[in-house]
Symmetry: C2
Subunit: 207 residues, 2 copies
């Protein structure tokens, strides 16, 4: 049997507890002696992290939605070729905090760019690199934004209004509805211990 | 008659004398009391200039050709909406040192990305914003690179080998062949005074 190199992505809007979930997954895989790397989007490579700064730093110049989408995919292409593919080829698990579904949610749902353009970019640039499993932490935006608020300073995207995140959430759920085998929806309003039990159960399926 | 807001682009590979030509055009339009702005790609807005730095600074991380193309179009979208369209709407001439033809030449010809993807991005993002006139300064890459060399330090793209620029030049000439009404090919190996006479003649057609 070949070495299992799972590509796992964690998705969800602001404040749904992605970092907490990621920390749990890391600890669980470490205990199971799995070889893994942790990465994130936008970012994951020096150039992509520089673009991340551009994308998230509030600025006077309005970033056109299409620019945002192109920059996200520019980061993603670097990320795939410099980080994700080499790790998968080396037989490692790749845990990514966000991936292509986030573009459907944020630039498609949130910024209202026609999904057909995102599909076009995905077909051209992402090709066969689909996550094996995507964990969608789902909660109403009010809850997530309240949590994110408690963290203090907001980046450019966190400064958006609630309906932006409602559209992002709806787009995430629609992605999950279309690909039920890949997606696991986790109710992020449940107690942490319950979420951790669910994560454990899902991870066990891939180990 | 409406105010003539001409969108003029200057194209050509490294060292063909674009800056010299631009200076002449600026002086000529100033003498003719034309209202104009001068801009450039990649760049032209604060965010686009930051992306320009990323694109041109030599770095250890290899920039994937598709990333380069996406970043160029990201700059271009900002440039169109923040600079080019407002100036044209205000009745100004817009003089741009490079525009979309440069992506066909550099990322298409030079980097060998299938032209169909560049067309796809152009149709989606550029729509009706076509230059009224494009001046293509043409010279064999040996000559241009020799001149560029004399300027000293090379950016990431100038560090490419000669066949890269040969492909870029060929792609430029092919663009010009397809759109003979928009393009004016200027032999950049001619003496400056001869080139200036040609520029004058072309500009007079639009004034």
């Amino acid at each position: 049997m070949q070495s299992k190199n799972i590509f796992l992505t964690l998705e969800g809007i602001e404040g749904v507890g992605k970092s907490t979930a990621m920390n749990f997954i890391k600890a669980y895989l470490t205990d199971a002696k799995k070889n893994f790397i942790v990465t994130r989007e936008p970012g994951g490579t020096p150039i992509a992290e520089q673009i991340r700064q551009l994308l998230l730093t509030p600025s006077k110049e309005i970033i056109i939605p299409e620019t945002e989408l192109l920059l996200m995919f520019a980061c993603r292409v670097q990320h795939i070729h410099s980080v994700i593919l080499p790790a998968l080829k080396a037989g490692q698990w790749v845990l990514s905090d966000r991936f292509v579904d986030a573009s459907y949610a944020y630039q498609g749902g949130g910024r209202k760019i026609d999904f057909k353009y995102i599909e076009m970019l995905e077909h051209w640039l992402i090709q066969a690199i689909q996550p094996d499993v995507t964990l969608l932490l789902d909660a109403p935006p009010e809850i997530g934004l309240m949590r994110a608020k408690n963290r203090g300073v907001h980046d450019r995207i966190e400064q958006e209004k609630i309906d932006f995140f409602e559209r992002a959430r709806a787009a995430y759920l629609e992605r999950a509805r279309r690909e039920p085998k890949r997606f696991h929806i986790i109710d992020a309003t449940l107690p942490i211990k319950t979420i951790e039990l669910q994560l454990k159960k899902i991870l066990n399926q891939y180990m």
